[in-house]
Each structure stands twice: as structure tokens, then as C-alpha cells.
């Protein structure tokens, strides 16, 4: 058995004269939560839809669980679950009916427990068109995982969800990963990607411009580490002392904030400095640049950062 669940090699997708995806390569390991990030029009949805067997690739090699999605989509659909970005069910289909209907085509028993779990217990007799956007997305998710797929594709899964539903969805993704499900997550929500994914690929204008774990990505580039210090007498806020490796310095809400290219020497120097004063340390925070900051850095520089 191959170690990877998905392999994408030299993949291209062209619509008329528009090149949506231009030579993308990546591999998703089995049991991994893999994030596809990128601004609108980067090629995320085209990539997902070709992997899901909904669209035909223009060129390149796609492999999902050993199946070519373009050649054997029906076999593939029995093994994968998909929550589409723009998908629908008939407006008059009731929530319970949708679960029974989809599960029947997957030859599995309806998972009504998932409806309860995703907060749709009171909506089971409601028609699809009567659901809110968030409820429709939760139903789509329940239907996508009802047949226990080996690979789950989620396209903007938390868009339009409230905080409670979002937390529940994250918990569900974690459980699915624990059970061995490979998850491909396309999202605009960088905090979600940073929290949920093992690795990400950042797409820009149809090309992969960065891949790696969120930690790896945030550790590279020009991202500064933010060092925030609060003391009893706020001595750091008033005297403007300079510390090594600090690129920028500011004050906010009694915190002296330093943006450092090398946080180790900066923190050591701050602590040494405070030992020589009568001031007392109350709080010290060292924060890596977020994935969002790194993402913006990469996309703003056209992928060369």
C-alpha cells in the first residue's frame, strides 16, 4: 500500500484561455490533515474538484487512494467524502431524507447521530431550503462523512458557521484524523489552518509557492518574533532601551513590544536589564509570527518570500 493517500504531479487545469492551475505538485500522506491555502482564484477549488473527479484535469497525474479520479470517478466516490464549496440539495428535501438518500447510494446505514452531533437534531424534519447557510453547511458535512470515507475533502468548511459549530467541527476533524481519515482542507481561515492542519500548500496564481507544516512556514521568511513585556513600573515603556536583534519597538496597553529577528538574545538581554533595575516582571510573551502573517508575506511578494 502506498504511504500517501493523494499524489498530484505536474497538474494543470485550463478553462479556455485561462490557466487556473499551472503545474502543481504535492503529496498528502495517509492520516494527514492537509491544508490548501491561497487567495481567491489561486486554483484551490479547481485542484480539489479535479481530485474529487468532478472535473477533468487538462494535464498531469492525479492519484487518490490509487485511483485516477478522471478515469474511475465512481469507484473513487465510494471511498471519499466531499463537502463542496457550492453544493446543494433539492430545496424540498428534508434533512432526514437527505441522510437516508445519500447513505442509500453509499450502501450504508443512515447516520442520524451525526445530525444530532452537528446541531441539526431539531431540524431533521425541515426542508433544505428552510435551513440557514450554516445549517446547510453542517448538513453537507454530515453527509460527506456519513459513509466513513478514507479521504475527506472540505472546501471552506467553517464559512458561515458560528463559534460553537466551528469548535464542534474542529473536534470532529480531530476525531476523524484519529480514526485514520486523510483530510484535505481548503480554507481562507489561516487561524483554522494553523490550528487544524499538519501541513499546508500555499497556492498563488495556479502554482504552489510554499509547502510545509504551519510551524515550518512561520519559522521561515522575514517574519519577526513578537516579544511583549509588562513590568510593575513600566520602565521599558518609558526609557526606550535598545536590545539586540530588535527590528522594531512599540508600546501598547502597558506592554513594551519588540519585534525581533532572533528572540533568544533579545529575551536574555531584557531579563538581564530588568535584574539591574528595581522594576519587577509581571508578564513576558514570545509569539511566533502567525500563519496569516506569513501567508500575507508570501502572497504579497508573489510567492518569492
Amino acid at each position: 500500500m502506498k504511504s500517501y493517500a493523494i499524489e498530484v504531479r505536474d497538474f494543470r487545469k485550463i478553462y479556455g484561455d485561462f490557466v487556473a492551475v499551472d503545474g502543481v505538485n504535492f503529496v498528502v500522506e495517509r492520516g494527514e490533515v492537509f491544508g490548501l491555502l491561497g487567495p481567491n482564484g489561486a486554483g484551490k477549488t479547481s485542484t480539489l474538484e479535479c481530485l474529487e473527479g468532478i472535473r477533468q484535469p487538462t494535464a498531469g497525474h492525479l492519484d487518490v487512494l490509487g485511483i485516477d479520479p478522471a478515469r474511475d470517478a465512481r469507484k473513487l466516490h465510494a471511498l471519499i467524502g466531499v463537502q463542496l464549496q457550492t453544493s446543494g440539495l433539492p430545496g424540498n428535501m428534508k434533512v432526514d431524507e437527505a441522510m437516508a438518500f445519500i447513505c442509500a447510494y453509499h450502501r450504508t446505514a443512515p447516520r442520524y447521530d451525526l445530525l444530532d452531533r452537528l446541531g441539526l437534531a431539531e431540524k431533521r424534519e425541515s426542508q433544505y431550503e428552510g435551513l440557514s447557510v450554516g445549517q446547510q453547511r453542517r448538513l453537507a458535512l454530515a453527509l460527506a462523512i456519513a459513509h466513513r470515507p478514507q479521504v475527506l475533502f472540505l472546501d471552506e468548511p467553517t464559512a458561515g458557521l458560528d463559534v460553537g459549530s466551528r469548535t464542534e467541527l474542529h473536534q470532529l476533524i480531530r476525531e476523524l484524523q484519529t480514526e485514520g481519515t486523510t483530510i484535505v482542507l481548503a480554507t481562507h481561515d489561516m487561524a483554522e489552518a494553523e490550528k487544524m492542519t499538519d501541513r499546508v500548500a500555499i497556492l498563488l496564481r495556479g502554482r504552489v509557492v510554499a509547502t510545509g507544516s504551519p510551524r515550518e512556514l512561520t519559522a521561515t521568511g522575514d517574519g519577526f518574533t513578537k516579544v511583549s513585556v509588562r513590568t510593575e513600573q513600566s520602565v521599558l515603556c518609558t526609557n526606550g532601551t535598545e536590545f539586540p536583534a530588535v527590528h522594531q519597538h512599540s508600546v501598547k496597553d502597558d506592554y513594551a513590544i519588540y519585534f525581533s529577528v532572533d528572540p533568544g538574545p533579545t529575551v536574555s538581554a531584557i531579563l538581564r536589564y530588568l535584574e539591574g533595575t528595581t522594576d519587577r516582571l509581571i508578564d513576558l510573551r514570545v509569539e511566533r509570527p502567525s500563519l496569516e502573517e506569513r501567508f500575507l508575506e508570501i502572497t504579497n511578494t508573489g510567492g518569492v518570500a
Binding site: 468532478i54 465510494a78 453544493s87 424540498n92 442509500a104 426542508q127
Partner: protein, 270 residues
């Protein structure tokens, strides 16, 4: 099999839940039937002779040509077929189930018309009920297949109305529902013979009422069967999962091949 039963049950309920489909499947044909029974039989007593088959054909066209194609296009535009595809729902079921449930709805209305036409409005009852049932079934299946084909080839919701009317309106005027084929001017008859309604009325006249017909009733039945099979085959072949995805196996104009049985019948008759 369980999936198909679920699918059929849902589509059947849709025909009752969806207000447009309810109108096209039941309210419109039954209201028109009542109006024609009350008014037309008084204006033209001869209408009683063909009232029952004419109203059944009207109900068939209303459901299959006006009711069925629209939701097929709307579902495609709404991305419902994409959802179906990723969940393993085959194209044959996507087209076949709405068409099959349309057949059932039309059969229900047809039974109502057939059983009440004579006692309520003095409509002439068929002399051969088996023949009547056979022609009804074939005509409904044929029109449902044509409706499915229209739904598949129509580019969008506006185009589907135009295409449906392209078959429906001539059928109403020239299909023998109001004016028998034999009474139509010679120059118009060839056009009438390109319509399923004309062949259905001819088949009813010959096989259910045992009367003389302008066309051979078995020939008309054969035209309806072959047209239905051809339309269904073309609908499946030309089926498109996605409005945004231009990957279609053939050009929509291929749908004109569904006219071949009618043209052959026309040539043979000439």
C-alpha cells in the same frame, strides 16, 4: 435497489411538495379538464367523442413537457447534480427517477379523467380499455423521455421554457386534441405528424376506440415507442453534471435525432 426506492419516493413527494410541479402535474390539467368538460362539450358536442384521450394527452404534455424539464435545469444550475455525483448517484437515476415519477403522476390524473369523463361530462368511454391503457402508458413514457431530453439540452431556465413551448404549443394546436388530424388542412398535416400528441391521438382513436384513423395506429404506437427510447438514450448521452462544466459528450443539436421516427413515419405515409 434501496437507493432507487429512496430516490423514487423522494422524487414522487417532490411532485406534490413543489408548488410548480403540483400545478403542472395535477391542478392545471385537472382544472383544464373540468373547464373543457363543462364548456367545450356544450359548444361542440362532438368533442365528447375524443374528450377523454385528448385530456389525457393534455395532462401528459402538461406534466412531461412543462413540469419535468424545468426542475432538471434548475437542479443542474443549483449544483445539485454535483452533490449527487460525488455521492455516487448515477446519471440514469438522476434523469430516470423524475421521469418515472412524472409517469406515475400522469397515470393518476389519467385514471381520474378516464373514470370521470363519461359520468361527469358525457365523454365517450374507450371500447378497448386495454388498448387505452397501452397507448396511455406508451404516450406518457414517450413524452417523459422528451421532457428529460429538453431538460438536459436546455442551457438555462429561460431556454427550457422556450424549448418546452416549442413542442407544447404546436401539440395543443395541431396534435388532434381540439381539432382531429383529418380536419387539418393538407399543408399543415406534415407538421402535425412531427408531434407526439398527433401520434398518441391516432393510436387512441384506432386502438382504444376502434375507429378509422388517418395513420396506422400500430405505426403511431411504434413511432411513440421509438421516439421515447431515442429521447431517453439521447438524454443520458448528452447529460451534463454541471452548468459551469462545458464537458459534454455531444452537441445539444444531437437532440434533433429524436425527430427521426416522426420523419420516417411522415415519409412512409407520403
Amino acid at each position: 435497489m434501496t437507493a432507487l426506492i429512496h430516490h423514487f419516493t423522494f422524487e414522487f413527494k417532490t411532485g406534490l411538495r413543489n408548488s410548480t410541479l403540483l400545478l403542472m402535474n395535477y391542478l392545471f390539467p385537472l382544472a383544464f379538464y373540468a373547464m373543457m368538460g363543462l364548456v367545450m362539450t356544450q359548444i361542440n358536442p362532438l368533442f365528447r367523442e375524443s374528450m377523454i384521450p385528448a385530456m389525457v394527452v393534455f395532462a401528459t404534455m402538461s406534466s412531461a413537457l412543462l413540469g419535468l424539464p424545468g426542475p432538471l435545469v434548475e437542479s443542474r444550475e443549483a449544483g445539485i447534480y454535483r452533490s449527487y455525483k460525488i455521492n455516487g448517484v448515477p446519471a440514469v437515476a438522476i434523469l430516470g427517477m423524475p421521469a418515472l415519477t412524472t409517469v406515475f403522476h400522469v397515470l393518476i390524473v389519467s385514471i381520474i379523467i378516464a373514470l370521470t369523463g363519461n359520468p361527469l361530462f358525457g365523454g365517450q368511454a374507450p371500447v378497448d380499455w386495454m388498448g387505452f391503457a397501452l397507448v396511455t402508458l406508451v404516450a406518457v413514457l414517450c413524452c417523459a423521455s422528451i421532457g428529460a431530453l429538453i431538460g438536459v439540452i436546455a442551457k438555462d431556465s429561460r431556454a427550457v421554457v422556450l424549448l418546452s413551448q416549442l413542442v407544447y404549443l404546436p401539440s395543443m394546436l395541431l396534435g388532434g386534441l381540439m381539432i382531429p388530424l383529418t380536419v387539418l388542412p393538407e399543408s399543415v398535416r406534415p407538421f402535425a405528424m412531427l408531434l407526439p400528441a398527433s401520434h398518441a391521438m391516432q393510436a387512441y382513436t384506432g386502438l382504444a376506440y376502434g375507429q378509422e384513423t388517418a395513420l396506422a395506429p400500430m405505426g403511431s404506437l411504434l413511432v411513440l415507442i421509438s421516439s421515447g427510447l431515442l429521447s431517453l438514450g439521447l438524454a443520458i448521452y448528452l447529460f451534463n453534471w454541471d452548468s459551469r462544466n462545458s464537458a459534454r459528450r455531444g452537441h445539444p443539436l444531437m437532440a434533433l435525432l429524436a425527430l427521426v421516427p416522426y420523419i420516417v413515419a411522415l415519409i412512409v405515409t407520403l
